[in-house]
Structures are given as structure tokens and as C-alpha cells.
Symmetry: C2
Subunit: 383 residues, 2 copies
């Protein structure tokens, strides 16, 4: 542990990595990751097992309630979720006052907070399961509508009518583009939702847990998580991939471009992951689907570029691409602008954030750590 990443403590004090790196802070039944094996499981199901067999809606049920839904449960859950779809007039008005060149993460952070404010006198400690389940569905069902509405408003296009016959992935694409895309595109976004739904105690999920531990409401926790995800050390990282691919420009330029970066000891965006010491299983799944899927796309340059970069990095540095690396080109190929990649990540991760908030609520202990004081000695006098 380098000096920069550690703090020096007195005898009997525990030495922890800065940012609690590598420190186990709680137990959880939601997500199991074995970074050295490339294993990611949601409540016992590997993502490889879930991909293609179930939809995002099933995964949300699994994360929140511990089990995949039975057909009857699924029907009830999906019906309730779709019935929660709305765009309150107050949020529509709010979105219209946000500058068109604002960061969309600011727009959704504000809108989810507003969704809570519109619940008249939201009791902070409504740790009533029924109330929280309703709020959870409301947040999950509204966030994609808010993202799409903000994009339609800023591009001066009408917001399509909300529909109740489409699944989450299809409905979002329909709202965003004005038309229902083909089934392959829908199932690709559905897969992206599944793969990004949950990833244990990452920064935004930990934020959701820390905040709800004060017994505040679910809106406060998810608003905070959105703010965290915006950061370039976290969800914001996926916005850097397309500019990098544009800078490279062509498959022929991949090798010289990478060698130049490596010579300058610069980082290659989307390569390597702090948790996975082997391949990122999400990137692996996505890569396979993308290779098939690329024929569907009008422009597959981005996917070819990504594959070429991955190959060189693996051969020369034994480093694998992470999920950002493959999600960015697919979003781009679908015509989605870079600044919506993080909001889409937020839509997917809301499943995990809420699952962790639900689990934290049962823990009852408020997060309140200590700091070692290293400042001016006490006893200073006002001159």
C-alpha cells in the first residue's frame, strides 16, 4: 500500500486503504463477484445464465425480492411497473427549464428528487414495505421516461405518448426515437440493462446504502446514487470511449495509436477493471452478442475498432476490455449520443441501487465512521 493510498494510525487502530479499498464493510445477499475467475452472480445466478433466458424485469424482481418471478408473479410485477409509467406535469415543466446543453445526469438527478417532493409530505422513515415497493416501481418506471423526455425536449422533438404494451428496453427506445425498434435491438438493450443492473458495493450503490441508513427516504438514496454515478471515476467513464474511438479513426490506425499511448504511459479508456483481474464477464457477453448484432447495424465501424483494440491490449498487456468498452460502441451504433450513456447506465443500475437500499433498511445501523484527526492542535485562540 503506497503512502498516498493509506493513512497512518495509532496502535490498536485498524489500517484501511483509502476509499475503503479492499475493506469488507458489511454482508450482503445480492451480488457475488469473483474477480479472478471473471464470475458475476446475482443472487446465485451467473449473468451468463440470465442473459437471453430472462428479461431485465425478471432480473429486477430477482434483485429486489431474492427470486426470479413465477409466471403469475411476473404478470403482476410487470403490470404494476407499467402502470407506474408517467411523466408528471411538474417534472415536464422542470425539464423544460433546464438548459438544453445541461449534463443529462443533472436533469435526472433533479427529476428523481422532484418525484419525491411531489409525494405530499414524504415521511422520511416510511420503512413500510408496501410504501417502499411502490416508490421503487415509480422510480424504476419513471427514470427512463425522464431521460427520454429530456432528450426529446433538448432536440426540439415532441415526446411520444407513454405506452403500456412494451417492455422496459423497448419502451425507452420508443420514447427516445419515436418508433419501436426491431426485436434484435430491443433484446440488445435489454441485455445491456441486465449486465449493468448490479455490481455489489461500487461507489453509487454504497452511496445508496450510506444515505438510506439515516432512515431517509428512497428518493434521497437514488438521487444521491445518480450524483455519484455521474463521476468520471465511476459511471461517467463510459462517455470517454467514443471520443477515443473517433481519435483513432480507422482499424489501420489502432496499433500505432495504442503503441504511442503506451509509450507515453497513458491509460487506454475502457481497458482493465479494478475488480476483474481476468476478463470482465459482462464485456465478454456483450462482445459475443455485438459480433452477431453488428450485421444489423448500419455502421459497425465502432465495433470493429473496439475488437482491434481489445486484441492488441490482450496480446501485449494481458488486459481485457471492460463493459464500458463494448457498451459505448453499441449505444453509438444505435444513434444514442455519448452523454446519454451514463443516464442509461443509471436506468439499469436503479435495479441494484434499490435492492441494496432494501437490504440496508433491514440492517438498521446508520453509517457513521470515524476520521483520524491530523489538523492543527486544539487550543488555538481568536486573535
Amino acid at each position: 500500500m503506497s503512502e498516498k493510498n493509506s493513512i497512518t494510525l495509532e496502535q490498536n487502530e485498524v489500517i484501511l486503504g483509502r476509499g475503503l479499498r479492499g475493506t469488507t464493510v458489511d454482508s450482503s445477499s445480492i451480488c457475488h463477484i469473483e474477480g479472478d475467475k471473471g464470475l458475476l452472480c446475482y443472487r446465485g445466478y451467473s449473468i451468463e445464465e440470465l442473459a437471453g433466458k430472462v428479461n431485465y424485469e425478471d432480473v429486477v424482481h430477482l434483485l429486489w425480492y431474492g427470486e426470479l418471478p413465477s409466471p403469475t408473479e411476473r404478470e403482476a410485477f410487470v403490470t404494476k411497473m407499467r402502470a407506474s409509467r408517467m411523466l408528471p406535469n411538474e417534472i415536464l415543466a422542470l425539464l423544460k427549464t433546464i438548459p438544453t446543453n445541461a449534463n443529462p445526469m443533472d436533469a435526472i438527478r433533479t427529476s428523481i428528487s422532484m418525484l419525491g417532493a411531489l409525494e405530499e409530505n414524504t415521511p422520511p422513515d416510511s420503512f413500510n414495505d408496501e410504501v417502499n415497493n411502490e416508490r421503487a416501481l415509480k422510480i424504476l418506471a419513471n427514470l427512463p421516461i425522464i431521460v427520454a423526455a429530456f432528450h426529446r425536449i433538448r432536440t426540439d422533438k415532441p415526446i411520444p405518448e407513454i405506452r403500456h404494451d412494451l417492455n422496459e428496453a423497448a419502451h425507452f427506445l420508443y420514447l427516445l426515437t419515436g418508433k419501436v425498434p426491431n426485436p434484435n435491438i430491443i433484446s440488445t438493450l435489454d441485455l445491456l440493462y441486465i449486465l449493468q443492473a448490479e455490481h455489489s458495493f461500487n461507489n453509487s450503490t454504497f452511496s445508496s446504502r450510506v444515505i438510506i441508513s439515516s432512515k431517509t427516504d428512497l428518493y434521497s438514496a437514488i438521487t444521491a446514487a445518480i450524483g455519484s454515478l455521474k463521476g468520471p471515476l465511476h459511471g461517467g467513464a463510459n462517455q470517454g470511449i467514443i471520443p477515443m474511438l473517433k481519435d483513432i479513426g480507422s482499424v489501420d490506425n489502432v496499433a500505432p495509436w495504442i503503441h504511442d499511448k503506451l509509450a507515453k504511459k497513458e491509460l487506454i479508456m475502457g481497458i482493465g477493471h479494478p475488480v476483474y483481474k481476468t476478463y470482465d464477464p459482462r464485456a465478454m457477453l456483450l462482445k459475443n452478442v455485438l459480433n452477431e448484432f453488428s450485421e444489423e447495424l448500419e455502421n459497425d465501424t465502432w465495433i470493429k475498432l473496439s475488437n482491434a483494440i481489445q486484441q492488441i491490449m490482450l496480446e501485449e498487456k494481458n488486459l481485457y476490455a471492460n463493459i464500458d468498452f463494448y457498451s459505448a460502441p453499441v449505444y453509438h451504433s444505435l444513434g444514442i449520443p455519448s452523454d446519454l450513456f451514463t443516464p442509461i447506465f443509471a436506468i439499469a443500475r436503479t435495479g441494484g441501487w434499490i435492492a441494496h437500499a432494501f437490504e440496508q433498511i433491514k440492517n438498521k445501523s446508520i453509517y457513521r465512521p470515524k476520521a483520524k484527526y491530523v489538523g492543527a492542535p486544539s487550543g488555538k485562540k481568536v486573535s
Copy 2:
């Protein structure tokens, strides 16, 4: 450590209290607390030393930049802070659409998030000192205006014109009530601001640090901290004091009321503190001021009630009142409704939240702890 408050870990794993209770997670130069001595220092100055000698504005400068301002620095700092006072039309419009019976914490959480959204394309990683200093002043100067504006709107009163000749405490009371109060009242609120400005790694301050560690922007961090403070295990606790005092009703009823609660093993609100094992130094200072100050007030019942409760709890349980216990009756005596006590706490604590965000920015490490997985074994199959 009871089973409920701990997690069982494998060999070589560190055992931490749930909620990181008692765990040192980082070093900090901002605040020093010795709970067994009743000591609270901001950057080396005890709160007893600061109280009455400096104003909240000086304390904010101390917390953010490490030193009390020189007269020249003070002039520049205060001028800049007052010049940042505004109520953007978009936020005024937003506040008007929030239901009048919404929790004011929801209103301010949404408004501070909106303040960020209005900064066109807020770069998430603008860890530029100049940009962050401007944002910090904007948040600090606007939060009280937002609280007052929401209250004026919900009580169907016009919002007074923003002024630049009043200090923070005076300006807030002027906006809230429509008139500049007498100097004793102003200096009491100023003292309350100072005493609530900072308290090390409490839940909301830790939230501010966790969130900004993803390199997101300052608005995201403060929005999150407001959401955390709302919780009844944290800032929301001060809203329970007045209902308790109303329930007791008269000084004569204090002893029987307390004995009844103690017999039922129920908690007495505002008594005891998880950090202070002796007196809460903030409550002590406030009590002294209140006793003098009560002659100024038209109705000092609440203060007499509080003093009587404190005396019994100290004699019979050796427990001291905490800051909530004395801040609530003074707010109430000033005619401030209970649901604004937490927003006022937020106004004061913004000083500390921002100081910690500034310190965290320099740390560079993102908060990303681990969880011990205790859920279903991997290998489950979709049936």
C-alpha cells in the same frame, strides 16, 4: 458487539461494526472531537473560543481554507458570498410547483440539484479550485434563500427582495419573516449556525465525501448530503423535540412524564449523544445563551421545560441533553415551524459538507468497499 451490529467474517478479514461504527476510514484536518471530554474543535479552535468572537461567515472561511480570515480576506469573502445571493427564476418556478405540504427537505434537495443543472453542462470533474470555490459560495448563499422562499410560497406570502447588507443569519430571518429581527435574535441564530456547521464524519458529511470521491460535481455531493440529513436517525431528529415538549405541556408534568417513559424503557428525545459520553459542548453553549436570551422571547415555556427535563435526566441517568434539545425550543420560540429545523441545520452544515468535499477531492481515492457475500450459492439455473 452484539450479533445484530456485527458481521461474521473469514480469517484474515477485518471485523468492523455495522455502519462502520468506531472504524477510522480516513484522516482529516477539519474537525477534532473528544467525546469523553466534551471537546469540539474546528481546525484547532474550540467552539467555546469561536462562539461570540466570530460570525458564521468566519467559521465557513476557517472550515474551507484552514484559517480564520484576515480583515481584508473577510471583506473579500463576505462580499463575494453576498454577491452570490440569488433566486433563479427556474428555481422559483420549481418551488411553486412543489405541493405546499411537501417535506421542505425534499424542496431544498431538489433545488440544490437544480442549481447544478442550471450551470450549463456542469463538467463532472471540474476539480478546478476556482470553479469549486464559486460553486461552494453559490450553494451556501442560495440554500437559505431557497428555504425561506419555499416557506413564503407555502404560506402564501410574498418573497422579500434579496438584500446584500445583512449577514447570513440576519438575511435568512429577514427573508423568512419579512423583517430584520433584533440583534440578539440574529446573534443567536448565528451561534446556532456556528455550532451546527461541522461535526466530522457524521452520515451526511460522509455521504458528501463518498459521492464526490467518484469525481462528480459539488452539487451532487451537497444534494446527497441533504437527502441523508433528512433521516430521523440524523438531522431529522430535531423535528421530534417540540411534539415531545407539547406532550409534556407544563413544567409540573416533567417529572411524572419522564418517570413514565423511563419505566416503559422508552427513549427521551434529544437526550444523550453517540459521540459525547459527557455533555454535548454545543448544547452547553446554547443553554447558557438561551437562559439569557429567554427574557427577549415572548414565550419562554419551551426553554423552561427543556431545562427541567435536562436536570432530571442528569440527576437520575447521568445523561446530558444534546444540541437538538436546545436548538428546537429556540427555533420554536422564534416562531419557526418544526419542519424547518432540519433545513436550518442543512444551511449551517453546508459549511462542513463543502469543507469535507474540498478535502476529499485532494485524496483522489474513490470509495469502493467490499461486502461479504452471504446469499445463495452460485450455479443456480433458470428453470
